[in-house]
């Protein structure tokens, strides 16, 4: 009779035996350095994406002539092309017309370009959720348009958009995994290097743990933020 339990123990022990802790300890600092690079690039790209997305959302919401068409076109292009292709274009394509961008610049610009489109849609949904009554009330206490946007519309739009912004942020952080194709020493790049020398179990484990350690806290912070906003009674 086939002994499932024995088979399982065998598998487990084999796994344990395979995990070379010396290897993990040796290369952990390398992963840490790569993680710092990944986080820095992601942070810069996402901050720019939020700014770009907000600008596009405001342009589209207020139907600014000409610019609204530019923003609409941009949003469609950014959301409907893969980041890898966008990076190829920035890194290799632009050199053809004499523009040489460093890998770091490419990564940040590429991530901002991709994220801007997604963030724009998140903010637009938020802005459209601000009721006509709220806007008229803001106007009737004498706020200028700029003050209305800043003190009434954006806080409410932001509250509505937080779940989408959170999802976009996590999505963009995961997208950073393609940066290695433009020769940046990020987590995937380091892992690829190590995989050539074997030790695939340890390398993959360290890669997964690294991404988890980066993204999980972001996830948690956003869900706390969401709860806080809801507690403040935004619903009315």
């Amino acid at each position: 009779m086939y002994d499932c339990a024995a088979k399982g123990r065998e598998f487990f022990h084999q796994g344990e035996a395979d995990l070379d802790s010396a290897f993990v300890i040796e290369y952990a600092p390398m992963f840490a350095r790569a993680a710092v690079l990944t986080v820095s690039l992601a942070a810069a790209g996402i901050v720019l994406a939020v700014i770009l997305g907000l600008a596009c959302a405001l342009i589209r919401y207020f139907k600014v002539p000409v610019l609204r068409r530019v923003a609409g076109f941009y949003i469609e292009v950014s959301r409907n092309t893969p980041l890898m292709i966008q990076l190829f274009f920035l890194y290799y394509g632009l050199t053809r017309i004499g523009i040489l961008l460093e890998g770091v610049t490419c990564a940040i610009v590429g991530l901002a370009f991709l994220g801007g489109g997604y963030m724009a849609e998140a903010f637009r949904a938020g802005l459209e959720a601000v009721s006509r009554n709220q806007i008229e009330t803001g106007l009737s206490i004498g706020l200028s348009r700029r003050q209305l946007i800043r003190y009434v519309m954006l806080p409410q739009a932001f509250a509505v958009a937080i779940p989408a912004i959170s999802a976009n942020t996590i999505f963009l952080m995961k997208e950073t995994s393609v940066f290695s194709i433009i020769a940046l020493p990020d987590l995937v790049y380091v892992a690829k290097d190590l995989l050539k020398e074997g030790h695939s179990g340890e390398t993959n484990l360290m890669l997964v743990v690294s991404y988890l350690m980066i993204i999980l806290p972001v996830s948690i912070i956003f869900s706390l933020l969401e709860r806080r906003v809801r507690r403040a009674g935004f619903s009315g």
């Binding site: 008229e136 009330t137 206490i141 003190y151 409410q156 009674g233 935004f234």
Partner: protein, 262 residues
């Protein structure tokens, strides 16, 4: 008696596409006067208020505030609106701000006034409407009547020349209507210039210096409250006021029922 003219509306026309909502409305409001506008729904009374503070652009006519036209196309509405307090049916407190923050937003940001001074004034006003203990509450924690009183304080704290009330008790539960109306009555006693659109006829009678009856976009009647409610001049006003009469109707129906069951 009131003397200086605060608001003067001359031959106001307002159209939504083909539909003419205001059909030549002229109106004068003196300082300290309380005008109550009544009429069937769709008669243009809310639109009239919205035109006065520029939420609706007008098609022709003229509106003057303190003798200067505010509809000549050069109006900086954000400045004009600081002199015109408006309270809406749905209170519309900013849900992301506490009571105090709601009140301070206009005076601090729009008017650029001194925080300590405004906060002191806001506290006095909250005290007057009985809500000082709710100064740090969120709008979601207040009842409808409380929200509406805060909305009134928010408008008052701008130190407006005139207050516009657009059916401010229409979406309140009956037991909360009174607390809001009392605040408005007290304002009237203190000499605030007000235009009140309402369906509360007993309140209208009590608070009004003059009642304006509108129907189909025109002012049909403008009279002191006693005269309007006791002896309306027009047939349309009489019909409108009959809507609010129940006594006769009820008795007759009860009598009929009794007769039927016998």
């Amino acid at each position: 008696m009131p003397c200086r003219t605060v608001l003067n509306i001359i031959d106001l026309h307002k159209r939504y596409g083909q539909l003419e909502v205001l059909h030549g409305v002229s109106l004068e409001v003196k300082k300290g006067q309380v005008l109550v506008v009544v009429g069937p729904s769709g008669c243009g009374k809310s639109t009239l208020l919205r035109c006065i503070n520029g939420l609706e652009p007008i098609d022709s006519g003229n509106i003057e505030l303190n003798g200067g036209s505010i509809t000549d196309g050069k109006t900086r509405w954000n400045l004009v609106r600081q002199k015109i307090g408006m309270v809406f049916q749905s209170y519309d407190l900013f849900p992301h701000m506490t009571v105090m923050e709601n009140i301070l937003l206009g005076p601090l940001k729009a008017q650029g006034r001194n925080r300590a001074e405004v906060e002191h004034e806001a506290e006095e006003l909250l005290e007057r409407v009985g809500l000082l203990d709710r100064r740090d509450s969120w709008p979601g924690q207040l009842s409808g009547g409380q929200k509406q009183r805060v909305a009134i304080v928010r408008a008052l704290c701008m130190q407006p020349e005139i207050m516009l009330f657009d059916e401010v008790t229409a979406s309140l539960d009956p037991e909360m209507v009174r607390e809001v109306l009392d605040v408005m009555l007290e304002l009237a006693r203190r000499g605030m210039t007000m235009i009140i659109v309402t369906h509360e006829m007993a309140f209208a009678k009590a608070v009004a210096d003059r009642v304006i009856f509108m129907d189909a976009g025109v002012i049909v009647e403008s009279a002191p409250p006693d005269q309007f409610f006791e002896n309306p001049a027009s047939e349309r006003a009489r019909k409108f006021l009959n809507i609010f009469q129940f006594t006769g109707v009820t008795k007759e129906e009860q009598t009929d029922e009794k007769n039927g069951s016998n």
